[in-house]
């Protein structure tokens, strides 16, 4: 069979176009077929796909505050704790309580923070996060989050993989699997990190048993933004093009002799890599951003520089069709010296967070973008004292039973508070929201039914929300 004949056959089959696929497409095709979404879908596992129903949001920016920010000192004012300060909690509240480091009978730590109402909605935020407070009317603050795990890595696996078991696909991978990518020259699921490395590491953005096509691509803060993006020293774009053209011709010749469509797929992967080499540096080139924008985020100043850069990158990615941006910021794990450390974290994160929300809004991007800000769990009302010889170093332990996070943007009803905790912030007393419920709601905003977004593995269908999860209608606009 000569090349021309082969091409004729293939063009008839419409196989040839951008089928950067591989065997993972089989699972995808099966899923789409079962969900009745197969019609018109090409072989490429990243081709944009119709959701299950009309979506409110197209993209997600998940601002993951690793370690567990203290809800008591930021989002959920508890004046009652002052009265208990230095005393153990009532025994009935701490019965059967198992925490990471603290004993249930540890003394209560009142919060010295001052909370003030913000915006028309009058939601109270702590004095450490005035900028986030200024976005109050766009935020849906959930004060009634809870989770099953009280240690970091299991907690993070729960939040992103829906189970404390290692090896599951994670939220970003699920979203990419469900919707494909709008971007032709950037990865569909990008991970940005600031601060220190997280407990979960790559397991938080793993594709698990989905094809690795769906795993998060780490966008690096130094060196190549994407690993191995730059040509070797001295190789110009023109030289590279000539090389890729040669490679393409030779690959096509082999395609003609073998008839293996995987070769066509590989040819298009090299072309996409080539485009990514242009697109990624353009993405991180802030020279066209106005001084006002840069100042709003705090890109050129400390201590915001690192996180602000990532926040601005996140906006630029969403503008360019990146489906899921994961912004890791570590670590809020303040077992000791809470008052001092929390101030430092907030000074780093408060301004860029608010800038991102406002910037998305002023550009009309917020309505298509779902923003989530929060950690894997919260912190205890009791104090943890690691070093009894230093009385000023009190911190808080991990608290899975009651914590806060907020959402904004596509599909979310802003300017409201959901849920209540008891006066001592020990338990949720109203509108409990499990992390599975959060996941279900997040997928819903993207037009995906969390019970239908499944992948067959080891003889059964798996999903992000494991075997649980309920939509939280109150969150929705």
């Amino acid at each position: 069979m000569d090349l021309e004949q082969f091409r004729r056959i293939q063009s008839r089959r419409k196989f040839f176009k951008e089928c950067a696929g591989g065997i993972g497409t089989i699972a995808l095709a099966q899923m789409l077929e079962r969900e009745g979404r197969a019609a018109g879908v090409e072989q490429n596992p990243l081709t944009p796909r119709k959701p299950h129903f009309k979506p409110k949001a197209k993209n997600v920016i998940f601002m993951f505050m690793e370690g567990g920010p203290s809800q008591i000192d930021l989002f959920d004012p508890k004046p009652e704790l002052q009265k208990w300060h230095g005393k153990p909690l009532p025994a009935e509240l701490t019965k059967d309580l198992r925490l990471a480091f603290t004993k249930p009978n540890a003394a209560v730590l009142g919060s010295p923070r001052v909370f003030t109402p913000h915006g028309k909605s009058g939601i109270e935020f702590s004095d450490f996060i005035p900028n986030i407070g200024s976005c109050a009317d766009d935020l849906c603050l959930v004060r009634s989050m809870y989770t099953d795990a009280f240690n970091h890595h299991p907690g993070q696996l729960m939040l992103f993989g829906g189970s404390i078991q290692v090896g599951r696909p994670t939220m970003g991978a699920w979203v990419l699997y469900g919707l494909g990518s709008e971007s032709q020259n950037l990865p569909g699921f990008v991970v940005l990190s600031s601060g220190v490395g997280t407990s979960g590491g790559s397991s938080n953005w793993s594709s698990g048993y989905l094809p690795s096509t769906y795993q998060g691509v780490v966008f690096r803060s130094s060196g190549d933004p994407v690993l191995y993006l730059s040509n070797p020293p001295g190789i110009t774009r023109e030289m590279e093009r000539a090389q890729l053209d040669t490679l393409k011709d030779l690959n096509e010749e082999h395609l003609a002799s073998t008839g293996d469509m995987e070769i066509a797929s590989r040819i298009s992967s090299y072309e996409l890599g080539f485009r990514m080499q242009m697109a990624a540096p353009e993405l991180s080139d802030f020279s066209k951003e106005t001084p006002e924008t840069l100042a709003m985020y705090g890109v050129n100043e400390e201590p915001t520089r690192q996180f602000a850069t990532n926040c601005l990158l996140a906006r630029r990615m969403v503008e360019r069709g990146v489906r899921f941006v994961m912004l890791n910021h570590a670590s809020w794990d303040d077992h000791t010296d809470l008052n001092k450390k929390l101030k430092t974290h907030c000074d780093t994160a408060d301004k860029p967070t608010a800038a991102l929300i406002k910037d998305l809004k002023q550009r009309g991007l917020l309505e298509d973008t779902l923003v989530v800000w929060g950690g894997e769990f919260g912190r205890t009302p009791m104090c943890e004292i690691r070093n009894p010889r230093d009385a000023n170093n009190a911190g808080r332990d991990h608290h899975p039973l009651a914590y806060s996070l907020f959402l904004a943007g596509g599909g979310i009803k802003g300017g409201q508070v959901i849920g209540k905790t008891d006066d001592l912030c020990m338990n949720v007393v109203e509108d409990k929201v499990h992390v599975h419920d959060l996941q279900a709601t997040l997928l819903h905003c993207l037009g995906l039914d969390h019970t239908r977004l499944t992948v067959p593995h080891m003889g059964r269908d798996f999903r992000l929300t494991d075997v649980a999860g309920n939509l939280v209608p109150k969150m929705l606009a």
Binding site: V166, G201, V226, S269, L272, S331, G459
Partner: protein, 844 residues
């Protein structure tokens, strides 16, 4: 419950039956599989099925159902109104069945009545195919008997002939050599091997080559990798701390050797699962138990060590199911398996075998290590003792241990000690046990661990000043100096029986804190019974490889087939249960499974059988006329082109470059990787110290696998994450792979090496050199068109380069005698094209 039900049945007398109070029989012709079987399965079989038979009644088999329970027949064919079964489910008696959940509806009772009145029609269902005894079918006759080289071909061809499809022609000699070399050793043939094979005109030249490859020590490396995937092998703990496992490689070392000497698969199984219990156990069989040391370990502060010990135990049972039986037994962790005959209790019975094991490390010297080590020990011991005494460490440790013991025995009395104790439990293996045992009875490794934890985390328990006074840092430094001088000896992570094993319980809803019934080790009722008297883990391992076991051999040969043909006869090689795929060639699978056992479980013989078949030797070219009929090539009317796994892509490039270090076994290595990769570990704690010398160029199999921040090239090319047993890898195709091969300094260096080889080892003009380049990368000569295209590219590149001296120097910094530097640099660019060809990273 049992007594209650009995009493109820005994109290019943037909005279009391009142037909009038029963729902009427359904007025339809009842079909057992449609109307009755689902009802029995849903409402009755939990208590009266294969797993258990309350009151002796069993309702999943016709004979047993008609026989009835402890008090006689419960089903009287034709007489539903008098059948005890109906009276009980209808609730006209004091006792109602089922005792829990909703009562049966009037319709359901009516169906049961109609079924009994119509004569108790029953369709006996054969067990699921994979639970049936393995047969040894005779290879079918075929018309084209000349084509078949061995029995495998008869099975394949018979099916093809039935479909009216002719097999493909045999692949060219060069393709075949490259294919079988890659499949057997993971390495492309050398130029010498290529020419030797081409010149060998004997009729059995191919078989001879196969035998050479099977005897190659690299065979063990290639075939170790797929087993390591199943063993979830890694060089670190996983989870947050992801601490290094410096001796994990010792298991891999054993594995490569075991595969090279073709350790029969039954022994291979027994040694890995129960090598510690063998009557003739030795260091080797102990090292084999390292298979199950590859589970993850969570040392995150504040976690409960018991929870994650428990996770390990359950993972070992789940892995046994996946790897040896192709059963998803792990699905029964929270509830009875929804699809396969595996109860929750059975899962915990299976895991109970592993519950009695304890992790420990043993000294496992490689040949040549022990002599020098032992010779140096006395002096080392003397100096070490003197050092510790000089700094008064023994006294300090006594106080340290006393405080930890206090905290272990009386938690909550000293908050500051509790934290130190918690960290201690995450640092030392079996920490509590070691701490509480008589120090004189501690093993040498345990003593060392106690000293290390004291010197390393003194500050957790004492104020900094105290540790400064003791000069713990100085002691550590001096101790490390002493250790550095001691000749090295290898250790191995193994599993032994715990002398005080914890009890095993069912976990209610899978929650490790919620203990249900206590369980003893046991297997699945749906599989053959354990040999009498064979209790314990050794019995379990022997049971797995007993000839009666329907799964083990099938699952094992299916994986061998998968490794060679790219997909299993059962596609879902991890799941032979009812949710898995059915075999495409069931008779062939059985034939292979029985042959495997008959041939003494020799894996090499099975591999040889497959790669010498005509089926294997076919060309892999697509056949457009079959694209619609057999798109996935499940009929094997041709070979398949398979993208190589991550490790082999690396090996191929380094081999072409002449850089590959071919030493077998040993420690893991850290090839260069960009800065910023390891830094993403928890708190940036993982340090990636690049290997030096030829260690940088070792095979991909030896790359250190750090679970939280794995080596990028491995992950980009679909290596598994090493958290759970992986039986088959994906073969994706992404732009990140393209960038990796184009720009990773490792591959760039390989291109430079390849260019250097071309310049050094080939003489003559461009065409001669190009021929050589093709020979050492693709094992063939370029076509005329390829040569022309490469020539054009070479000329263009050379002329571009002549204008940019800096680029020349970057591409090839050295000046070779008699060759313009621009020319060598152009060969580097051409080499990059070769190393990026789809053909280069694919087994044709």
């Amino acid at each position: 419950m049992l007594c209650g039900a009995l009493a109820c049945l005994l109290a019943w007398t037909p005279a009391r039956a009142a037909d009038a109070t029963l729902p009427p029989p359904a007025k339809i012709k009842v079909e057992f599989t449609r109307d009755i079987e689902p009802l029995l399965t849903k409402r009755c079989l939990v208590c009266h099925g294969a797993q258990q038979q309350m009151s002796g009644l069993r309702l999943d088999q016709k004979a047993a159902a008609l026989k009835g329970g402890a008090s006689g027949a419960d089903i009287l064919p034709g007489k539903s109104a008098e059948s005890r079964l109906i009276l009980l489910v209808a609730g006209v008696e004091k006792k109602v069945m089922p005792p829990a959940g909703a009562h049966l509806t009037a319709e359901e009772v009516g169906l049961l009545r109609a079924w009994i009145d119509q004569g108790v029609q029953w369709t006996e269902r054969a067990p699921h195919w994979s639970f049936q005894k393995i047969q040894h079918p005779a290879p079918p006759a075929v018309s084209n008997s000349k084509w078949a080289r061995n029995a495998v071909d008869n099975f394949i061809l018979a099916r093809l002939e039935k479909e009216g499809i002719a097999p493909s022609a045999e692949a060219g000699k060069l393709t075949l050599l490259r294919r079988v070399s890659l499949d057997l050793t993971g390495l492309p043939p050398t130029a010498e091997e290529v020419s030797a094979f081409l010149n060998d005109t004997r009729p059995d030249a191919y078989e001879r080559t196969v035998d050479q490859l099977l005897a190659s020590p690299h065979y063990g490396e290639k075939w170790a990798r797929y087993w390591l995937d199943q063993a979830r092998y890694a060089d670190s703990d996983g989870y947050e701390k992801d601490r290094s496992r410096p001796w994990a490689w010792r298991y891999r070392h054993w594995l490569i050797d075991a595969i090279n000497r073709d350790l029969p698969f039954d022994q291979f199984t027994i040694q890995q699962l129960a090598g510690d219990l063998l009557p003739n156990r030795n260091m080797d069989t102990l090292v084999a138990t390292g298979f199950n040391r590859n589970t993850l370990t969570n040392r995150e502060g504040g976690t409960d060590p018991e929870q994650f010990r428990d996770e390990q135990v359950l993972d070992r049972a789940a892995t046994l199911g996946t790897v040896w039986m192709g059963l998803t037994v792990g699905c029964a962790q929270c509830h009875n398996h929804k699809y396969d005959p595996i109860s929750q209790k059975e899962f915990y019975q299976l895991s109970a075998y592993f519950n009695t094991q304890e992790e420990t490390n043993i000294q496992a010297p490689l040949p040549g290590e022990l002599g020098p080590y032992l010779a140096a020990r006395p002096e080392f011991d003397r100096k070490r003792k003197a050092l510790l005494e000089e700094y008064k460490i023994p006294e300090a440790m006594a106080d340290y241990e006393a405080k930890l013991r206090e905290s272990a025995l009386h938690p909550g009395t000293h908050d500051d000690w509790d934290f130190a104790y918690g960290e201690f439990t995450h640092t030392v293996d079996n920490a509590r046990k070691v701490l509480l045992m008589d120090p004189a009875k501690r093993s040498e490794l345990q003593q060392t661990a106690m000293l290390d934890v004291f010197l390393g985390s003194c500050g957790n328990l004492y104020p900094k000043e105290h540790c400064d006074d003791l000069k713990v840092k100085d002691v550590r430094t001096k101790l490390n100096e002493l250790i550095a001088k001691l000749p090295p000896v290898s250790y191995a992570p193994v599993l032994l029986e715990n002398d005080a094993p914890p009890k095993a319980y069912i976990h209610i809803k899978g929650d490790w804190r919620e203990h249900g019934e206590e369980v003893k080790p046991g297997t699945l009722a749906s599989l053959p019974p354990l040999p009498a008297g064979d209790t314990g883990r050794l019995g379990l391992a022997r049971w797995l490889v007993s000839p009666e076991h329907p799964l083990t051999s099938r699952v094992a040969v299916n994986r061998i087939w998968q490794e060679i043909f790219g997909r299993g006869i059962v596609l879902t090689s991890e799941d032979f249960g009812t949710q898995g795929d059915r075999p495409t060639h069931p008779e062939l699978l059985d034939w292979l499974a029985s042959e495997f056992m008959q041939r003494g479980w020799s894996s090499k013989q099975m591999v040889r059988l497959l790669v010498t078949s005509a089926t294997y030797r076919q060309a892999s070219n697509a056949r457009p006329e079959l694209a619609a009929k057999d798109p996935d090539n499940t009929l094997y009317a041709r070979q398949s082109r398979l993208r190589l796994p991550a490790e082999l892509i690396r090996d191929g490039a380094l081999s072409a470059a002449g850089l590959l270090d071919l030493r077998i076994g040993g420690k893991s290595v850290r090839p260069p990787q960009p800065k910023g990769v390891a830094e993403l570990s928890y708190g940036g704690s993982v340090k990636w110290e690049e290997s030096t010398g030829s260690d940088r160029y070792r095979r991909g199999l030896y790359i250190l696998f750090q679970r939280t921040v794995p080596y990028p090239q491995l992950m980009t090319f679909d290596a598994p994450s090493a958290s759970l047993a992986c039986t088959r890898r994906e073969r994706t195709d992404t732009p990140l792979q393209a960038l990796n091969l184009l720009n990773d300094p490792v591959f760039f260096e390989a291109a430079q090496g390849l260019a250097l080889r071309i310049m050094h080892e080939a003489s003559g003009g461009f065409r001669e050199r190009l021929n050589y380049a093709y020979a050492i990368t693709l094992g063939r000569a370029p076509t005329a068109h390829e040569a022309e295209r490469m020539g054009k590219y070479f000329d263009e590149t050379r002329s571009t380069l002549q204008k940019t001296h800096d680029t020349i120097a970057a591409l090839f910094p050295n000046q070779l005698e008699g060759t313009p530097q621009a020319e060598t640099a152009a060969w580097v660019e051409l080499s990059r094209v070769l190393l990026n060809l789809d053909e280069f990273i694919t087994r044709d």
